[in-house]
């Protein structure tokens, strides 16, 4: 379980997030949506231990984030792929696990790359891969790490819309297979509704939680959901909350 209590992060005289309380259950898929600069990335970084809270606290299964990092229980996927340019796709996947002091399982890494549609690209360098493929490698890397918690910071932010939709559907099915806790930050409302079991809406100045929506859509989901009435109504509801926070 991830627990945030009165979490506040300030930079000099700028308050990025203020008094955020949030509970995320194990194996839950939570999306965080909000405008640029609302502190959603800062929130995610604080959860993952990359940002020290100014006040309040973060606990991951009753541990401070640094302890969860040390145990290799946090898998980050950033907006930029963050692959090492001098390593092949497979080496990138294996390498992070080694850095977490876990023994690499090359077979598992191969299987993950295959399941992400990267069969035959194991030896390719990042420079030889498209943006979507690089993010696929980064996701495979986070899964291979074996972390229980996946923190995704706009991982599809630099991809075209078709690739976004495809990868979104893949993330959903991976989440169901691998039983991970996923916290997914995005500024796209449809993406947040499509992916999450729960959608947290943030407002800015300072970053706060404005509302939380339990998403009521069938599981498993695929891109057919986009046309459904239920999906569109929930997107509209989240949008309205976002806009109201600006009035």
């Amino acid at each position: 379980m991830i627990e945030l209590d009165d979490l506040t992060v300030t930079f000099d005289d700028f308050t990025a997030i203020a008094d955020v309380d949030l509970r995320i259950e194990p194996e839950e898929f939570v999306t965080i949506v909000g405008p640029s600069g609302c502190g959603k990335t800062t929130l995610l970084r604080a959860v993952g231990g990359l940002q020290e809270p100014t006040a309040g606290r973060v606990r991951i299964d009753d541990r401070v984030p640094a302890a969860a990092q040390e145990a290799g229980d946090i898998g980050f996927v950033f907006q930029q792929h963050t692959l090492f340019p001098w390593k092949s796709a497979l080496e990138n996947v294996v390498f992070l696990r080694t850095m977490a002091d876990k023994s690499p399982k090359r077979e598992k890494a191969h299987a993950l790359l295959r399941s992400m549609g990267l069969d035959g690209f194991e030896e390719a360098r990042p420079s030889q891969l498209s943006g979507g493929m690089k993010q696929r490698v980064a996701i495979a890397r986070a899964l291979h790490l074996g972390a229980d918690v996946l923190l995704m910071d706009e991982p599809f932010g630099e991809l075209d819309e078709i690739t976004r939709d495809e990868l979104g559907a893949e993330i959903r099915s991976l989440w169901r297979q691998e039983r991970k806790t996923i916290v997914f930050v995005t500024h796209s409302v449809p993406e947040a509704v499509f992916l999450g079991e729960r959608c947290v809406v943030m407002r800015d100045q300072p970053g706060r939680i404005e509302a939380t929506f339990d998403i009521d859509l069938p599981t498993p989901r695929d891109t057919d959901v986009f046309g459904s009435r239920a999906f569109q109504e929930q997107v509209a509801a989240v949008r309205q909350t976002l806009h109201e926070s600006y009035e």
């Binding site: 990359l50 990092q69 040390e70 963050t82 001098w86 390593k87 850095m99 420079s127 790490l145």
Partner: protein, 259 residues
């Protein structure tokens, strides 16, 4: 593969032909005009010098090489060490960086006579002088290289509990390697210049000294022979750096790296 070799062969034809043409022109000038040989000796006279007394050129090439290697090593090691301090100790960087950038403008050659006063006419002057000259490209390029590593790569390693030393080894160093070699390639060329200047100032031995003596005795054939050996020595050293870069790249698995 065969095609590549054939391409390399055709690529080599043009410069080879240009070289032959240039030497032929040189020879023709000495034959057609009556330029005295103490101004422009014919190519075969230069070659005769080399073949006539190979020990002289070999031993002086060795002396020059010795200075380049010792001075170069001191300059390279201290340059990389200082770059590490600049990259990892913020207050040190703020104190020293402006001077590193400004002192670079100073023509280091002008310092050689001063070193002669402090260090005398031994090897020391040459070594310190070459060390100084090789130091600057290395410290600046290495420090810039260490800065190139994107923060997000370090954060990625931090997020799995990797320590600062692992972040240096697996992120900072691979990103810095191209900078280090850019610095080394400048340094190795400058080191040969530095050795020659030191030999002019100290006037003890080496190819620079041979050139100086050739000038005083108005023997351009000796000077040109020494220059030829110096050129080969410089190429050899540069080739050594390139070979070292290939080795390090494959060791760190950097091939095909880049951005």
């Amino acid at each position: 593969m065969n095609r590549r070799i054939r391409l390399a062969a055709t690529d080599a034809i043009y410069p080879a032909a240009a070289l032959v043409a240039a030497v032929a022109c040189w020879w023709a000038i000495t034959v057609v005009t009556d330029v005295p040989s103490f101004v422009l000796p014919p190519p075969d006279a230069v070659l005769a010098r080399l073949i006539g007394n190979p020990e002289l050129y070999a031993i002086n090439a060795w002396y020059t090489l010795e200075k380049v290697v010792y001075g170069g090593l001191v300059g390279i090691v201290s340059g990389i060490a200082l770059a590490a301090f600049v990259a990892y100790v913020p207050w040190f960087r703020r104190a020293i960086y402006p001077y590193l950038v400004t002192v670079r403008v100073l023509p280091k050659l002008a310092i050689a006579p001063l070193l002669l006063i402090y260090l005398g006419t031994g090897m020391g002057t040459a070594i310190v002088f070459i060390a100084m000259i090789t130091f600057f490209p290395l410290v600046l390029n290495t420090a810039a290289g260490l800065d190139r590593a994107p923060a997000r790569h370090r954060e990625l390693l931090r997020s799995v509990g990797a320590g600062p030393l692992e972040r240096v080894r697996y992120v900072d160093v691979p990103y810095a390697i191209p900078g280090v070699f850019a610095g080394l390639k400048q340094s190795v060329t400058l080191a040969v210049v530095g050795a020659v200047v030191a030999e002019w100032v100290v006037a003890d031995n080496g190819l620079g000294f041979l050139i100086l003596m050739g000038s005083e005795n108005v023997s351009p054939d000796i000077m040109l022979a020494a220059l030829l050996v110096l050129l080969l020595e410089g190429l050899l050293l540069y080739g050594g750096v390139v070979a070292l870069q290939r080795g390090v790249d494959s060791w760190l698995d950097l091939e095909g790296g880049g951005s």
